[in-house]
């Protein structure tokens, strides 16, 4: 996958990589704004949350639980559970982030599933410039969508009508396929999907994805027959 002759990717490559998704993220932000407004979160709190948290699925979960009359504790737990995957994801990115502590802190905040996946360069390395380009693009789209959703969501209607919810798994699939360069990666993917599928009916949202990350422990196995992935 990695190629020494390939020119190093830049911020612009990060912007380009997530551009197809920016529209879907705006739509997703609109749905969040509409839901949060319906949940009685008011006008300002959902926007502040999008600016500070920048993790869509967890914000959705928190708002939907408040909307259903759930407790603060249930709402917070669901959101934190959904974001727990960013702990191992953060560890995977860490070696690629050098520089001062505040630079690492800010880079870390731009890590979401999509930016992490497009910044991957194979062999466990990540390109910080691609991360920043992709991260700022999706951050702007997410906050813009939220503002649009809380202010005039009623006029826009339901973004699911446009099939935007199918855009996310499609992107993740498009990012997954190029990663399947060796047998181990395929095994980890199959196991990860199987764990998520098996747990979804029984656990709160977020738990299946965190449990699926355990599939990477396949990497602890020794397999002398494996070809080195190039």
């Amino acid at each position: 996958m990695s190629d020494a002759a390939r020119p190093e990717r830049t911020h612009r490559d990060g912007v380009r990589a997530v551009a197809p998704l920016a529209v879907a993220v705006v739509g997703f932000g609109i749905s969040y704004g509409v839901l949060a407004r319906a949940a009685g979160m008011g006008l300002v709190a959902p926007i502040v949350m999008s600016m500070a948290t920048f993790a869509g699925s967890s914000q959705f979960a928190a708002a939907s639980i408040l909307d259903a009359g759930g407790t603060v504790a249930a709402s917070v737990t669901a959101a934190v559970l959904l974001n727990a995957r960013y702990a191992p994801i953060g560890v995977s990115v860490a070696p690629s982030l050098s520089g001062s502590w505040w630079s690492r802190f800010l880079h870390a905040q731009l890590v979401v599933d999509e930016t992490w996946a497009v910044a991957a360069e194979g062999e466990g390395r990540f390109n910080p410039r691609v991360l920043v380009g992709a991260g700022l693009t999706l951050y702007a789209a997410w906050v813009l969508g939220t503002v649009m959703g809380v202010t005039f969501g009623d006029v826009i209607g339901d973004p699911d009508r446009l099939g935007l919810d199918a855009a996310f798994p499609a992107l993740f699939l498009a990012l997954l396929v190029p990663q399947l360069t060796n047998r181990r990666a395929v095994e980890a993917a199959v196991l990860g999907a199987a764990i998520a599928l098996a747990l979804t009916p029984f656990t709160p949202a977020g738990a299946p994805i965190i449990a699926a990350s355990a599939a990477c422990l396949l990497g602890l196995r020794r397999s002398p027959d494996e070809e080195p992935s190039a």
């Binding site: 008011g42 994801i89 905040q109 194979g122 009508r161 992107l171 181990r184 998520a196």
Partner: protein, 103 residues
């Protein structure tokens, strides 16, 4: 402070901390050899789980709806080496059309 603001502040602070943890503690240093083998498999494992949950995941149930044909169409587009933009558009379009037709 209202319930809403408690949720907003607590979730934001905890999420910022979770994201910062790895890069703040381990930033710029290579991971030990044994760990690298594990971390390179995190991407395929998590991406496959994200595809699964976002395609057939519901509220504590598996749901087969218009998302599934959308994602299958995306898989076909990937197979035909379509660019990512096309893949994403195909998924959204197929799902939207099925929803429109099925009312």
């Amino acid at each position: 402070m209202s319930d809403t603001w408690i949720v907003v502040v607590v979730v934001s602070v905890v999420t910022i901390a979770i994201k910062a943890l790895g890069p703040m503690l381990l930033g710029g240093r290579p991971l030990p050899d044994g760990i690298t083998g594990v971390v390179v498999l995190l991407a395929p494992a998590l991406l496959a789980a994200l595809v699964t949950v976002n395609t057939v995941g519901g509220d504590r149930e598996l749901v087969v709806d218009a998302r599934l044909p959308g994602v299958l169409a995306a898989a076909l587009a990937i197979r035909l080496r379509a660019p990512v933009l096309v893949v994403v558009l195909v998924a959204a379009a197929v799902t939207a059309i099925i929803r429109a037709v099925s009312g």
